[in-house]
């Protein structure tokens, strides 16, 4: 293969006999909209080439072009204009509002030249990102922005990302359904997106269908998200842009309330009276109402939610300087983000970032570019686990009559030998407030993203591009259990107090890319052919050490520790070699065709199946440009269709096809631990996607619509096939099974009012998703690992919940009832034995309708924008509610006020079961769908009131633009769900982000989502 391809390249090179260079000059100018406001981020492309730039924040641009070449100016939501380069060195241009369709689209390895799209791509510009005053991670911002893109926030932890699914869940193993993210060509993991400062992002492109994703071969099957960082404008003086934002963040108020001290004690007494013996030792039973003992408890009661949570601080400051000279442009930035989060005593998340992007023309035929960004993200890592070591569980768990500190008879805190108050271990036995001080854990990620580029222009048709993209992350974590601390009392070694774990992980992802481009453009024809040869290497190096025995809690390294407990290093490597040939052709500005073929070899596939070939073909036709088409109101009517195959290797471990053992330690020496069974046939899974789309622009492009229909079949599913327990091998990875996602996407946007002073724009998008499991290994249904109650069955939806159906409370006895497999109603102890009563009910953790909408009003510089996100059709297993309305099962810990509403007398309906049956019925009850709730919600993600000062005011100042704003996030939620309906991770240590198979399956005390208020300022001079 190598020789063949080299031969092909040599042949192509041989064709390049004549290298000539046209006369170039630098053109500068300003792009404004029809109201005279500058348009930042507008695209300027030299027609027929892949050379282009973007306007800066003030609408200024600079580009180097030859006389006679045509410049194409475009901007999302505006009509594209073309200007031929003549004698003038300045081009000032006003774009009129118009289509969203003619935007210049960054695509696999090249910029699109075609004016008639053939593929489903969504683009989100810097300006749009800016309007949303981003949270700390960009994936969260994608929610509700793009049709077909489902975003589920992992949790509310500062700096935590989201689960992004493009056109459904394309795979069944954990981590395998995430899209491929590229930052200036370097792949980045979904969980690391928060390391990128948002201010540096010029635009985000989401490639949805095979026409585009097939260019990414064995990695593109779940869609591709291309993040491009900003660059400066040539021939313009430096523009300095300063942005600053400050605000507060707090938990979104829950729609339930926990009991206070007197309510909890009353509840305890009630349950004890019913015969719930577990309440016998609780103060609601052991103290009498009105007694001094009861009064003491009431006087010293605690609102644990109040105590553990705080109102946090959000802060963002950034400075960006951009500009350019005749033959170069630059962008420089420094940013700082801080989000303290909402846990008292914990610092939360902070990110420092700096970036320099420089492009310059070294020769007339040679351009060089360097994009380098460094960021340092620091995050406190409180335990996200399913016990009281997690503050969010503890705050709901501790009883309100339990004080923070151990109290003496006078109600004063008891002091330890050092004079510090002694924390009350509470009934849970673990004082989290003390632990937050003595069990610190944090994570620091140092990330360097670099993209180095050399572009050689042979002549006006041929060019060669050499690119090296690096993503280097050094991640350090520390978790310390201080000597004398809370955990040491439980598991500490008395002779060697204190315990600390340090880990370091270096991740290097290196992509070396060679691209040879041929471009031909004439009046009627536009042809672009790209040959690609690429090598990608990802290497992980890890080391960890744990020591015991710290003389002082103030010592935070292991240097002074008395005893090393464990230490190890790890390394792994994954490589990919790719060849691609991509072609696009447009005729008469009306018809376009694209085709691609890519061949990938990946090191983790089986020996003889390392290489896979992926292809796509697509067509586009702008009917409105036909002479026979004669509907004046319609400006564009673009029909497109694509089909292609894409691979997926996410979720597949490195070396996954090889049979291996590992070694552990055992007294006497090494111990051989069989680890993986060889599977030499193991290969990528394949998605084939059919996409049919329609793009429409009407009424002078005031109304715009895009709709797509897709069918996405995933075959050869990468699958951890569960083997019989008796085999002793656990799971064996294979390529078995098929799933299907199909859906319909619709995006609408229109200017309801458009006058000089006032514009009002409404827009929105929605995905209707239909998915099912087509086939599974041997047709057998599967209870997948890393889920709570998900069951996979052929013909069922992906990730359906599997529980016994709860039939409500029997009004006569107050006992919970259930549907048996036969459809009859039973009490738990009467359910027929040896029968499976759990059923699939079509209730999946995946939303089947998802999207967003926004309204934006602009009047004389005042802007009011509101963005909403919504989700419907998904079901969440609400374990938190199970434990907080527990019918007395968890009477030792605090309960929600709703727990009081249980059956009390015959005839009561719409109530919780009587607590007297809770223990007997527990097994069946907790295996029932009583707590399976609809996850539908609409949330106002963002509301912003802004004012942009007019040029007439700024003229006499050095300031070129000034915007101030007031913003609230997550202020309104509409949902019937008990608790917060935006559920991603259940509990981070039960199922981590990367291990989560069914995001949003269940609630289990992970970091709650937050709301915020912020004021901000953007100023340029």
């Amino acid at each position: 293969m190598r020789t063949k391809f080299s031969g092909f390249l040599t042949l192509l090179l041989a064709l390049v006999v004549q290298i000539s260079f046209a006369q170039q000059k630098t053109i500068t100018g300003t792009i404004t909209d029809d109201t005279g406001m500058p348009l930042p981020g507008a695209n300027i492309i030299i027609k027929g080439t892949q050379t282009g730039t973007q306007s800066d924040f003030d609408g200024n641009f600079s580009i180097s072009a030859s006389v006679g070449q045509t410049l194409v100016f475009s901007y999302v939501g505006f009509e594209t204009q073309e200007v031929t380069v003549g004698a003038a060195n300045t081009i000032d241009l006003t774009l009129s509002p118009g289509t969203a369709l003619d935007q210049v689209v960054l695509r696999g390895y090249s910029r699109q030249n075609l004016s008639v799209a053939t593929s489903a791509v969504v683009s989100i510009s810097a300006e749009e990102l800016n309007q949303m005053a981003p949270t700390t991670s960009i994936d969260n911002m994608l929610q509700g922005k793009a049709a077909g893109v489902q975003v589920t926030a992992a949790n509310g932890k500062p700096g935590q990302g989201a689960f992004v699914r493009i056109r459904g869940t394309g795979s069944l193993v954990a981590g395998a359904s995430s899209p491929l993210y590229l930052v200036d060509g370097a792949p980045i993991r979904e969980q690391d997106l928060a390391t990128i400062p948002n201010e540096d992002i010029a635009d985000i492109q989401i490639l949805k269908d095979a026409a585009r994703t097939a260019r990414y071969g064995s990695r593109g099957s779940n869609g591709v998200v291309i993040i491009t960082t900003k660059s400066g404008n040539r021939g313009r003086d430096a523009t300095v842009r300063v942005s600053s934002r400050y605000g507060t963040v707090s938990r979104i108020n829950p729609n339930y309330r926990m009991m206070n001290a007197s309510e909890k004690m009353q509840y305890e007494a009630e349950l004890y009276a019913l015969g719930v013996t577990a309440a016998s030792a609780l103060p609601g039973v052991t103290t009498l109402p009105g007694s001094p003992e009861r009064q003491f408890l009431l006087d010293h009661s605690e609102d644990w939610e109040d105590l553990i949570l705080k109102e946090g601080i959000l802060q963002n400051n950034s400075v960006a300087i951009s500009g350019g000279a005749d033959k170069m442009d630059y962008y420089f930035s420094v940013t700082n983000d801080r989000n303290t989060g909402i846990i008292d005593k914990v610092d939360g998340f902070e990110r420092l970032g700096t970036r320099l992007n420089v492009n310059f023309d070294a020769k007339e035929w040679l351009s060089l570019g360097v994009n380098v960004g460094y960021s340092r993200a620091m995050s406190d890592e409180p335990r996200d686990r399913n016990n009281t070591q997690n503050p969010f569980r503890a705050m709901l768990e501790y009883n309100p009559y339990e004080p923070e500190f151990v109290l003496d008879a006078d109600g004063n805190p008891v002091l330890d030998e050092n004079g510090n108050p002694v924390y009350n271990p509470t009934m849970d036995g673990f004082p989290i407030r003390g632990a937050l001080e003595t069990e610190p854990a944090d994570e620091i990620r140092n990330t360097t993203l670099g993209s180095l580029d050399a572009l050689v222009k042979f002549n006006k048709n041929w060019s060669y591009n050499f690119n090296v993209a690096v993503n280097w992350q050094a991640r350090r974590t520390e978790s310390y259990s201080q000597p004398g601390g809370i955990l040491q009392g439980f598991i500490g070694d008395a002779d060697h107090p204190g315990n600390k774990l340090d880990t370091q992980r270096h991740l290097v992802d290196l992509t070396i890319s060679n691209r040879l481009n041929y471009n031909y453009a004439s009046e009627d024809h536009n042809l672009n052919v790209l040959g690609l040869y690429e090598y990608n290497m990802n290497e992980m190096n890890f080391l960890s050490v744990r020591s015991l025995g710290f003389p002082s809690a103030l010592l935070t390294t292991q240097w002074n520790a008395s005893k090393i407990e464990s230490g190890n290093t790890q390394r792994s490597r994954l490589t990919l070699v790719s060849y691609g040939l991509f072609a696009e052709y447009e005729l008469f500005g009306r018809y376009s065709v694209e085709a691609s073929v890519r061949r990938d070899g990946s090191s983790n596939f089986g020996e003889d199946v390392k290489y896979g070939t992926f292809y796509s073909g697509s067509l586009g036709w702008n009917i409105a440009r036909e002479s026979f088409f004669d509907v004046e109101q319609i400006n564009d009517l673009n029909v497109r269709a694509s089909y292609g195959s894409v691979g997926n290797r996410f979720g597949l471990p490195r070396y996954a096809s090889q049979g291996v053992v590992q070694f552990g330690s055992y007294p006497g020496g090494s111990s051989t631990l069989p680890h993986r069974i060889a599977n030499p046939d193991l290969t990528w899974e394949t998605s084939t996607t059919l996409n049919i789309g329609l793009e429409l622009a009407m009424f002078n492009r005031r109304f715009r619509a895009v709709t797509d229909y897709f069918v996405r079949n995933t075959t050869d599913l990468l699958f951890d096939v569960p083997k019989a327990y008796e085999s002793g091998v656990g799971f064996v990875l294979g390529n078995i099974g098929d799933i299907q996602n199909k859906g319909f996407e619709l995006s609408l946007q229109g200017d309801i009012i458009r006058t000089n002073d006032l514009t009002w724009t409404l827009g929105g998008n929605i995905l209707f998703l239909d998915h099912k499991i087509v086939s599974l290994p041997d047709g057998e249904s599967i209870s997948p690992g890393n889920t709570f109650g998900i069951y996979w069955e052929e013909g069922a939806k992906i990730n359906e919940h599997y529980y016994i159906r709860y039939a409500g409370v029997d009004p006569a006895t107050g006992r919970g009832q259930f549907y048996g497999a036969d459809g009859e109603i039973y009490f738990a102890n009467e359910l027929p034995e040896d029968t499976e009563h759990r059923v699939l009910q079509g209730k999946s953790s995946i939303a089947d309708k998802e999207g967003g909408f926004f309204t934006y009003v602009n009047y004389k510089g005042f802007g009011l924008r509101a963005d909403f996100a919504f989700k419907a059709g998904n079901w969440i297993y609400n374990i938190m509610r199970m434990q907080k309305e527990s019918d007395g099962l968890y009477i030792n810990s605090n309960q929600a006020i709703g727990a009081m509403d249980y059956w009390k007398q015959p005839g009561d309906t719409g109530v919780l079961p009587s607590p007297i049956y809770a223990t007997d019925d527990q097994t069946v009850m907790q295996n029932s769908d009583r707590w399976l709730e609809k996850g539908d919600y609409i949330r106002m993600r963002n509301i912003t009131l802004s004012y942009t000062f007019p040029n007439t005011v700024l003229e006499r100042t050095p300031i070129s633009s000034l915007r101030i704003y007031l913003q609230g996030q997550n202020l309104l939620t509409f949902s019937n769900f008990w608790g917060d309906p935006e559920v991603g991770i259940s509990s981070g240590e039960t199922l981590s982000f990367v291990d989560t198979v069914a995001p949003g399956e269940a609630t289990l005390y992970s970091y709650p989502n937050t709301k915020s208020f912020q004021v901000g300022l953007d100023i340029s001079f």
């Binding site: 036995g429 090393i564 070699v577 053992v661 007294p667 019989a724 327990y725 085999s727």
Partner: protein
């Protein structure tokens, strides 16, 4: 000239970057080792057999578990412990016998046992062509461990042969002797299961060394297991014969406390040292966490059992302690001065040989010999040991001594099962004076299907040939 340099540079760039690549696709793991290379030399098989042993340190076997393991489940299912309100309410379904197939009761043990069996089978299938002198010993160890894993599964999930007259024909467990990832075996009968275990152990006893490094079985250990299995099978004479082959003496009274604090290893036939850096497992958290003053026990010594320990019985001090108002379980609590639950994993002890023998002799009607065997243990536990029982009193004395000697140590539930007894608890609370909250369920009849745990629904989902126990 310029053109030529340019073209050469360009070609170098392209071609140069090409040559780096196709071989880069052949990646070999750094942290793992090809299975085909792992079972070749004598050292490989030493490593491999230690790999089988290391499975025993899994939580659900002997590593200490809060979802049920060999150290705790046989007592939690029986009458030696009372659930404590001071703990985290773990394993309540086991303790209250409310488990059903969907609760996956003891699935961890089921899984870990078959992982051990797979590792043994992989070793045994690879050792066939090996000609080294260590072969017999390693085969003996692998077979003994494999038999032991089968036994642990069988005692929880199936009847024990002497439990009832229909036991031998009832559902046993799947017997697995080949390393086959695709195996979906069905359940043998109880009779077949125990025959298999006994014959494997007998073969292992012939092959294994008299002495092996610490942390590994030897002839004494295998013979003890064999005597236990014969006892479970009602093969009294064979149980006696096997027990007689156990040579190590019972720990004397003076060293009993130290055995559980790892200051001596008297009477231990098979234990696994638990040192930080090698294992370092906090196995004791299966019973409690925290120092005595702040103890958070999951389960405490039942009031009845606590009072069955005579004041001059050294085991009262060795097995129990007063902590935070509870009669707490001491066996796995920690080494001297420690409360972190890190102690050696004791798995087989010499005292069992004598108690097995006493019981078997009694069943053969040889009461005097039975009493003598029983007294071997008792004289090493009491300053003034009880003695001289006959008839039913002797039987009860043997049973009582077994309960006391092996409290919190992997036996009680199986003993009650195989004696055809049900479980009746004392109804007392969890505090040291018997007040406080009693366990929610108190009695389980000797005919209850719940004496055989249900096969987990998950396990049956994965193996359609797996039949469920009756009445679940």
């Amino acid at each position: 000239m310029k053109k030529i340099i340019f073209k050469i540079t360009l070609l170098t760039l392209i071609v140069g970057s090409f040559t780096a690549c196709d071989s880069e696709l052949d990646q070999v793991p750094f942290d793992e080792f090809g299975t085909e290379n792992a079972y070749v030399t004598a050292q490989d098989f030493e490593n491999a057999i230690r790999g089988v042993y290391s499975t025993l340190t899994a939580g659900p076997l002997y590593g200490g578990s809060d979802s049920g393991g060999m150290y705790d489940a046989p007592d939690i299912l029986a009458d030696n412990v009372t659930s404590s309100t001071g703990g985290r309410f773990t394993r309540r379904a086991l303790h209250n016998w409310t488990y059903g197939p969907a609760d996956d009761p003891m699935l961890g043990l089921y899984n870990a046992a078959y992982v051990l069996i797979y590792r043994s089978n992989l070793l045994l299938s690879n050792i066939e062509d090996f000609r080294g002198e260590s072969k017999d010993n390693i085969v003996g160890e692998a077979k003994a461990l494999r038999a032991m894993a089968h036994l642990h599964v069988a005692t929880f999930f199936a009847k024990i042969p002497t439990q009832s007259s229909d036991a031998n024909g009832s559902l046993g467990i799947p017997i697995v002797t080949e390393p086959d990832a695709n195996a979906t075996p069905s359940r043998a009968t109880v009779g077949e299961t125990y025959q298999f275990i006994a014959s494997e152990l007998a073969e292992a006893a012939n092959l294994i060394n008299e002495t092996n490094p610490v942390g590994r079985l030897n002839k004494d250990g295998v013979n003890l297991l064999l005597s236990r299995v014969y006892l479970y099978m009602g093969e009294w004479q064979k149980a006696i014969d096997a027990a007689n082959l156990v040579t190590k003496p019972v720990a004397p009274r003076s060293s009993v406390v130290g055995v559980w604090e790892d200051t001596n290893q008297d009477g231990l036939l098979f234990y696994i040292p638990n040192e930080t850096g090698v294992l370092g497992i906090n196995v004791g958290v299966t019973w409690s966490q925290g120092s005595p003053n702040q103890l958070r026990p999951e389960y405490v010594v039942s009031y009845e059992l606590y009072n069955l320990f005579d004041d001059d019985d050294i085991r009262k001090e060795a097995y129990t302690f007063q902590g935070n108002g509870y009669n707490a379980i001491k066996k796995l609590f920690g080494r001297p001065g420690q409360s972190n639950g890190q102690v050696d994993l004791k798995i087989l002890r010499a005292a069992e040989a004598h108690l097995n023998k006493a019981e078997a002799l009694y069943n053969l009607g040889r009461e005097a010999d039975a009493l003598a065997a029983l007294d071997v243990v008792r004289t090493n536990r009491y300053t003034t040991p009880p003695s001289g029982e006959t008839g039913t009193a002797l039987r009860d004395a043997i049973r009582l001594e077994r309960r006391l000697e092996f409290a919190f140590e992997s036996q009680r539930f199986f003993d009650l099962k195989r004696w055809g007894l049900g479980i009746s608890r004392d109804g007392m609370g969890d505090n040291s004076d018997g007040s406080g909250q009693a366990s929610e369920s108190q009695n389980l009849s000797s005919s209850s299907h719940r004496l055989q745990l249900p096969i987990s629904q998950r396990a049956r989902d994965r193996n359609p040939n797996l039949e469920q126990n009756p009445d679940y």
